[in-house]
Symmetry: C2
Subunit: 446 residues, 2 copies
């Protein structure tokens, strides 16, 4: 069974105490950026339902905003890094992935990608040490008697581990996809597919943006974002994109934080931040240019907007490949694309109605589920708290070694039996042969 | 992946026409007895929601009651058998299973069981021929433009088929179990586990029965039924059971249609029919003696009643083994049990509180699902009608041959490549060796 490495949240039941009724104590080991978006949606809902939610966040974490009050409690632990250090680590890693990796040959690409991944896990391990070796914090956490740990499996905390080992330990897995996005495959009973749990109906836009959208007339608008993790693009790539956008009859809303490209057309407006969900849900929106983050793709599926994918790193290539295979997106290559490639791709998804039809099919699948993804996620978290786990959903295979799993011990034992029987029969035959055949020979000699 | 052969209902999308809104046309290919109980629960709900339901039933079918009016439409087709023939076929088959099979040795048991199964499928095939060769009926069905076929996979209708082939054809599988009953295992996205969909809260008993139940005082009552398919027991077995029941302090309500056993105790009352669900939901009920039909076990789980299992045939042995493994039942052997065995088993499940605790655990799992089983069953039927199938849940493996499924074609091709390369390299080496090594030897000779 294959599983996307960035697509999982997991639940682990912790304590033996659970206050009756609906109120539980939730401890969260989060991941930053887009994963935090999903996690926060769940946590907000848990808080709404009266649960006490505590997020373990380092002092360098960007998910803690000291200017905002929140019903979610942040347990901030000290770490040697600052917020700026943290952001610079990520920007460096991502820039290496974006600009350096594509220069390598096929074989060294994977060793280099692996190296980037090790640096990332090193950073996570250090954060983890800051928690585990902090005795005051650990005592406080232990005394808090939490009912559940909600952890993002992208950043496991405990010594080096394998996906298999982690899988066996979690009570329940909440997967960040659904069958609108991923291809059908077998799965285990303690998996629930809650992709798109953060999606919601669009709210009205602010007047300035609404006026710009309405000015597009019949042609409509294109929404363009490369996500929250990419802040800088080379000037050359920026100008290629800007001149491509200038060639389409639509108005374009581009989330962009950098120097204004000189090829920018009058139809394109730059914004440091955009209300992406509200824009994708706007009836004037014709297409979405995206890097292919899981959350972004889900917003497009939810609102039924065809996509042009410019995958950059991590699972984005895989995500866009899924959307392409389902006929809801056209992919362009980040490094090699020309202005014509991008504008051509945009025209294709807007002018060929099959892309809209296909993404609308996915949208109907997404909206037609027995229970909404967020409600299912919250249901299983409450289930694990209420029932002190979900052991009835856990396959016994987790407790088997690989040779037991493949029944090699049974096969080995049966083979040994067969070999023993054959050995004994052969020995008996030989014995009989010697005993009765030799006198015969002697007789002949006589 | 193993799957119980009696545990499935399947949905096949049929026509290209589907009237908008919630009203669809449903054609049903049913199975009699306990399977019909699940099917009818679903059909009643579909009719309630405004769908038009047509059940294909033979003139010998016992599921059609001409004295009852029903919102379900029965399309009765003529068959050469009468209702009495039908019942006698089943009674004979089951009696052979009950009384003849246990006399066989280990190896001939399976060939005899297979023979019984072939006779059953022969009977089903004949019914199927009566439908397919009936041109008037077939034309009428085709003209009705149904949106969906709801079929019980126990009785497939088309030439001989395999479970794998049938699995590939159905849009959706509704499995008659859930994780309270079965052990966790991997499954496919177009499986939904709707076991216990027929269960509902208990209604009050009729006065006569309620008075008898109340007369049990602190000891409570035991409910005893061997299901709808077993109508006759040998006198010897009946007396063993009756004298066992006479030994327990509880009052016993026994569903029994036969000659009153002479060992019957004053604590036991015989009824030709009992309101089983209402009795199991009664607070005085302490235990349930059951043959282990899936539906019966689900009623016990739903109401949290520990069981004594007397499995008779088909999947009942497997079902009781599940309940025994989950600590909710004690099993006694139908053929060899003595009065003491049965009364001992009954005392164990009543007096040892662990059985009640375990079945209550299962009950809590059953009642704690994001959506009730019946609602999920109806949801997926409506989904298949509304979306003209559920292709997004269908694994591509169904379209692969066995050697493609195991990637043998890919492995074969790669092996061929490797062999070719090795062959060429070897030939080159040999060629070089001959060309350059021979002159060297000559030189030495010189």
């Amino acid at each position: 069974m294959s599983m996307k490495w960035t697509s999982v949240l997991l639940l682990i039941h912790l304590s033996c105490y659970f206050s009756s009724g609906s109120c539980g104590k939730v401890l969260v080991w989060p991941t930053e950026y887009s994963h935090w978006l999903n996690m926060k949606t769940i946590l907000d809902e848990l808080v709404q339902r009266g649960h006490e939610v505590t997020v373990l966040a380092s002092s360098a974490s960007i998910l803690v905003d000291p200017n905002k009050t929140s019903a979610i409690k942040f347990e901030v632990y000290p770490t040697s890094l600052t917020k700026d250090d943290f952001e610079s680590i990520f920007v460096t890693l991502i820039n290496r992935w974006l600009y350096d990796l594509p220069k390598y040959t096929f074989l060294s690409y994977f060793s280099q990608a692996q190296e980037i991944f090790w640096e990332f896990t090193d950073y996570i391990r250090n954060l983890c040490k800051d928690v585990v070796l902090n005795k005051t914090l650990m005592t406080k956490l232990q005394e808090s008697r939490f009912d559940i740990v909600l952890a993002d499996a992208l950043c496991p905390c405990g010594r080096p581990t394998s996906l298999l080992e982690t899988m066996g330990k979690a009570e329940m897995w909440l997967i960040r996809t659904y069958w609108d996005f991923t291809f059908p495959h077998p799965f285990l009973p303690n998996f629930d597919f809650v992709g798109g749990l953060h999606c919601k109906p669009a709210k009205p836009l602010l007047k300035e943006m609404e006026d710009f959208v309405q000015s597009s007339g019949e042609n409509g608008v294109v929404v363009f974002s490369l996500g929250s993790m990419v802040s800088s693009l080379t000037e050359e790539r920026t100008n290629v994109i800007a001149s491509a956008l200038a060639q389409v009859p639509q108005k374009v809303i581009w989330r962009f934080d950098g120097k204004k490209p000189h090829t920018l057309g009058p139809n394109t407006r730059l914004y440091k931040w955009i209300p992406q969900n509200d824009l994708l849900g706007h009836p004037k929106t014709k297409a979405f240019i995206t890097h292919g983050g899981t959350n972004d793709i889900y917003e497009a599926i939810y609102h039924g907007v065809p996509m042009v994918g410019i995958p950059l790193f991590a699972d984005q290539l895989d995500n866009i490949a899924h959307m392409k295979a389902k006929g809801a997106a056209v992919k362009v290559d980040w490094i090699t694309m020309s202005s014509t490639d991008l504008s051509g791709a945009l025209k294709t998804v807007i002018d060929n109605p099959i892309y809209k039809e296909n993404v609308m099919k996915l949208s109907r699948i997404h909206h037609n589920q027995p229970v909404k993804p967020l409600d299912r996620a919250v249901f299983w978290i409450e289930f694990v708290m209420r029932h002190k786990g979900a052991r009835h959903l856990r396959v016994a295979a987790h407790d088997l070694t690989w040779f037991q799993y493949h029944s090699l011990d049974v096969i080995g034992f049966l083979l040994a039996c067969v070999v023993t029987v054959i050995f004994i029969i052969t020995k008996c035959c030989l014995f009989c042969f010697r005993k009765y055949a030799k006198p015969g020979k002697k007789g002949k000699r006589d």
